[in-house]
Amino acid sequence: MSEIKVTQKKVFFKKLKWDKHYWKNNWILYLLLLPTLIFFATFHIMPILKMRLAFEDFRIIGANEWVGLKYFKMLFASPAFLSVLKNTAIISTMKLVLLMPVPILLSLILNELKTGKYRKYVQSVIYLPHFLSWVVIAGIWISLLSFNGGVNQMMGFFNMPSIDYMTSKTHIRWILLFSEMWRSAGWDSIIYIAALMKINPALYEAARIDGATKLQQIKFITLPELIPTIITVFILNLGFFMSAGFDQVFNLMNDSVISVIDILDTYVYRIGLVGGQYSFSIAASLFKGVIGIVLIFSTHYVAKRISGKGLW
């Protein structure tokens, strides 16, 4: 096995070295790629190498001191970190379980809509929020949910008391859920709509002739055809499980609710950049990264075992 690899390598280098004609004509390709490679080296690979700081004590002068797992032990002894971890898991689970079906449902509904002006209007509107920054969306939602905002006015219409939603610990996680839905449900449905358009219309034709109802058609034709897409989206979403949406939380957070929605990334920002505890915060990021990769690979293999279809 290894012998084969070695010879392969030799052949590879031989090709690189000896093909004078190739290099004469194509050296410029490598020159053209150089800026991109420098970019990746600087802004992606260098930061990854910097992560070794998680195992070191940072020194402003002189070499850093290797301290092994000290910061990881600190991390798991820290109540603040554990509470942040819990918030991340709760918010991500809520989003994963309650939000994943929404774009699927939406695509099924849109699929029933005849192509025409009305469908175009609906699609143009529901994709729009995806292109607004979380700063803008936070601005809109804070105004909407304020004491005199639209939501409380509507509640007042039904004789319900006004609530300051943005500072309410019981409501804020649901606000994260609904604002995420408001922003992404439409956009996320695109991938399912594209999958639905690939289904052979003859299948529905045959089902109708056999007297299948609309619901039966959805259950026996549409959903099975959608399953590979659903699995792909699920695995990718699970890869972001530890992220839970930094920009969203960062912009919707305030001092009254920080204890229930402070997530890993906001914590890392506060401890690392604002607080200057580099090693400690990088240890948290590294932990997050490892869990993310483990989640992606394990769900990929489970999905492949069960359904025969994974991410690749």
């Binding site: 029933e112 509107v125 729009l128 809109i140 439409g186 990088i282």
Partner: protein, 291 residues
């Protein structure tokens, strides 16, 4: 038959209500920003048309040097960064789709690896500091110079360019750069437009890195917007000058000024949005790629 019709109407109504939940909050902000100050108390959370009409909020906002500067910064960063993005991404896509290229798998491997591994903000900041880009526009312009997703999308388009065209050009002794700019880019115009729009929206909406890497005078609009609207920092934004100039003519209302700032931040997106619908959604519907 009748049952189907009821079902269809229910769907249409449900979708209409859904679109209203998106349109009303946005129109509401627009309405607040354009209402005349003395009638602002009549504006509710469900108002979609301004009560009275006044551009006083925009006068106050656009006479503020801080906002003007941040608008300029945002436009500058977006234009320069998007240009660099398109240039680097198209060149890389061209090189990586050459069938005879040696080492392609190594390059792609590096890029996929880089895409999966997210080092987080702290190491990124330390590198920025090390290479001396803190306090320079280049930090926010360069840190996402090539997006691997968009690179792969563009590569798919470049792969569709007929090989015969390239060979014909090569026989004529035309170099790689000419082939890229004269054959590939014109043929891949819709794809270039799509990823260009996505890059532009990304840079326009960026606030986090800008607030960390840039000095206050270099901040783009989104950072100022965040300070004003999310953090409710009103004093630094509406300077004493404008308070003196405008407060006699009309009661200044912070809610209305905040609404105006949000509108200013949304307008460029709304201007690009029809183009996005035209290029991206069409492309996705046909190709099934998700961005």
């Amino acid at each position: 038959m009748d049952k189907d019709k009821t079902f269809y109407i229910v769907i249409c109504v449900a979708l209409f209500i859904m679109t209203l939940t998106m349109i009303i909050p946005i129109l509401n902000i627009v309405a607040i920003s354009f209402s005349s100050p003395e009638k602002l108390s009549e504006v509710t959370g469900l108002t979609v048309l301004p009560k009275g009409f006044s551009i006083i909020n925009y006068k106050v906002l656009l006479s503020n040097p801080k906002i003007l500067k941040s608008l300029f910064n945002a436009v500058f960063i977006t234009v320069v960064a998007t240009t660099i993005n398109l240039l680097l991404t198209s060149i890389a896509a061209y090189v990586l789709t050459r069938p005879k290229l040696k080492g392609k798998r190594i390059f792609m491997g590096i890029m996929i690896l880089v895409m999966v591994m997210e080092p987080g903000i702290v190491p990124e900041y330390l590198v920025m500091k090390q290479i001396g880009l803190i306090g320079s526009y280049w930090s926010v312009i360069l840190y996402k110079a090539v997006n691997v997703y968009y690179l792969i999308i563009l590569m798919r388009f470049f792969e569709d360019v007929p090989q015969s065209l390239v060979e014909a050009a090569e026989v004529d002794g035309v170099g790689h750069i000419t082939i890229l700019f004269k054959i590939f880019l014109p043929l891949a115009k819709p794809a270039m437009a799509t990823i260009g729009l996505f890059y532009a929206v990304f840079h326009w909406n960026e606030y986090f890195r800008a607030s960390i890497y840039l000095d206050q005078a270099q901040w783009p609009l989104q950072v100022i917007l965040r300070q004003f609207v999310v953090l409710n920092d009103t004093t630094s934004l509406v300077g004493a000058n404008s308070l003196l100039t405008y407060n006699e003519a009309a009661q200044l209302n912070y809610d209305a000024l905040q609404a105006g700032t949000i509108v200013i931040a949304i307008v460029p997106i709304l201007m690009l949005y029809p183009l996005i619908l035209k290029y991206y959604t069409k492309g996705t519907m046909e190709g099934g790629v998700k961005g």
